[in-house]
Point group: D2
Chain length 185, copies 4
């Protein structure tokens, strides 16, 4: 750059409209608030499916479960790492959308042992995180989820979820490992 | 830019040494090969601790377990989301380094129910992945791990690991959820 | 877990179909190969727009440029950090889709100083990377890009691109800083 | 899981200390606040080097510049994608630590055209971002940086920085492309 150019630069006006208030921000990072909201969304959806099943029967519950799986999980990306609480070998891992829907509402001949976890009259679903790991645009949580049914009985599970924020800013579950607690000797 | 400068640019030589073979690459992304190697590393370490316990006793095994936890897990980052197979409430989640070491070798009064999972004479440890999710510099696996002891007895667990590649390029476990398979009705 | 359950587990068969060949892999990490392909794609698109302009005129070139911007950049995410080579203040930064299209083909009253960089009869576009930084599902390159026009004149620019792999696996430019080389004293 | 076990689970106490206030959070994601702080840190460091040069001479300035490069850039990761404002071919790209230090203070025979950008009596350094892209544990900014020297003369540059948050939570510059604004026709 010749000296004459440099001098011209020194006198150059600032770019118009450069106030920080006008900075455009595209943020793909996950916040703790988004993680907690996504967890609560899962709990709400579970209770909703349960209520729908009780009020309207299996077809309506399956329709809702399908919507929930399509919106809250990331099967669109190719597979989800889903090990539901009450799924047994050789169908422990529900890497397909159909396997997830069946787990929640049952009634799918391809998964004959599924009774529909979301059809058990759940009225509450509470989350107690032990720890959260936010790795950028993914976040993983581990802790207990406590399900309360209409009779007040409580079932506690150990649960790990990994969420990924998609291009539309939506949090999707890519990993879900749920298990009954180990009962020590 | 004045026209004279632009003409000068048109005649400018290429930068020296620009051959693609000389491109410097810093790669923080995780490859599938790195994931599989990290999993095998965990299995090898478990068998090593088990062999050390059998040959040299608890102090030597604990020393090795400490080394393994410090090198293979990410407690340096503040916490790890670790739910070991045989850990029961209220100590199900081992978010601290001490809790992890105790789980593997026992002998820590702070974790009185730990018997030392790595002291059970394991001779083999085999991994069967159901699915892998690589999210950039993290990767999560889900599947079965099969432990074979000196008598040939096999224990199978459902296991999820999330690895993160640290600044030194080392894969560290940030999430580890292991559970005994659900036995259906 | 009661002892009887544990014994049952020890005898449990492996999950069916667990061969590693069947592991499902979802991979959001960027590879060096994908980076180089995305760069070449940009170069090809530039020459295509230039050829289209020469053969069919501005409307056809603008239609193609619009398609290229929509497919190769990430304006869908909210903004792109784009500082084109020949854009001057106060319109140096083209954070909007319209600003990018105008830069490539001109003819937009909102950007009166744009002459259309892609209309300059470019016949070749070659890339020489100095370094590449892959950070997971993003990758940034820095180096020279050399444009050759129909008369064999060469223009060299210093260029930085950051690509992000979207949910569909497509590489999109989120950052593009291009500048004429500094000519030292 | 046998029914007797399930009943035991229903009565199991919650894990101790599960209050959300006690959730451990490991957060590798970058926040906008961290980005702005890292930018200001760069500006402060530049003025510091300039002041040190004026008050104490080159050796002290070089010592400080070395410290700044080691702490604020990511050369430890293998390379940095650094195109300084006033660096010309064939040394436009400073992918090594030595090249960066030389650019800031000069006096290195390996980079004979460096006069030391940070030795120019800069008194102020102000940032005006056009846009910011946060991609997880990296963040990229683009905008103007305005340098004011002791005589009140202002130099404006177009600048792109990509920061990465390292394992220790420190923001490091992995990409830095700075250029004199294009002066239109």
């Amino acid at each position: 750059m010749k000296k004459s150019i440099l001098i011209a630069l020194l006198a150059a006006p600032l770019m118009a409209g450069a106030a920080s208030a006008q900075t455009k921000v595209v943020n793909k990072a996950v916040t703790e608030t988004e993680v907690l909201a996504a967890q609560k969304g899962w709990c709400s959806a579970l209770v909703d499916i349960s209520d729908t099943y009780a009020a309207k029967g299996l077809p309506a519950a399956k329709q809702l479960a399908t919507k929930v799986v399509d919106e809250a999980y990331g099967y669109q990306l190719g597979a989800v790492l889903f090990k539901p609480t009450l799924a047994a070998a050789p169908q422990s891992f529900r890497t397909t959308r159909e396997g997830a829907i069946s787990y929640f509402v049952g009634g799918d001949q391809a998964f004959p042992h599924d009774h529909g976890f979301a059809t058990k009259n759940w009225k509450r679903c509470d989350i107690e995180n032990a720890a959260i790991f936010i790795a950028g645009d993914t976040a993983t949580t581990m802790g207990n989820v406590r399900f309360t049914d209409k009779d007040g009985k409580v079932t506690i599970v150990d649960k790990t979820w990994e969420f990924v924020k998609d291009n539309a800013g939506k949090m999707r579950i890519m990993v879900h490992h749920s298990s009954l607690p180990f009962i020590g000797d």
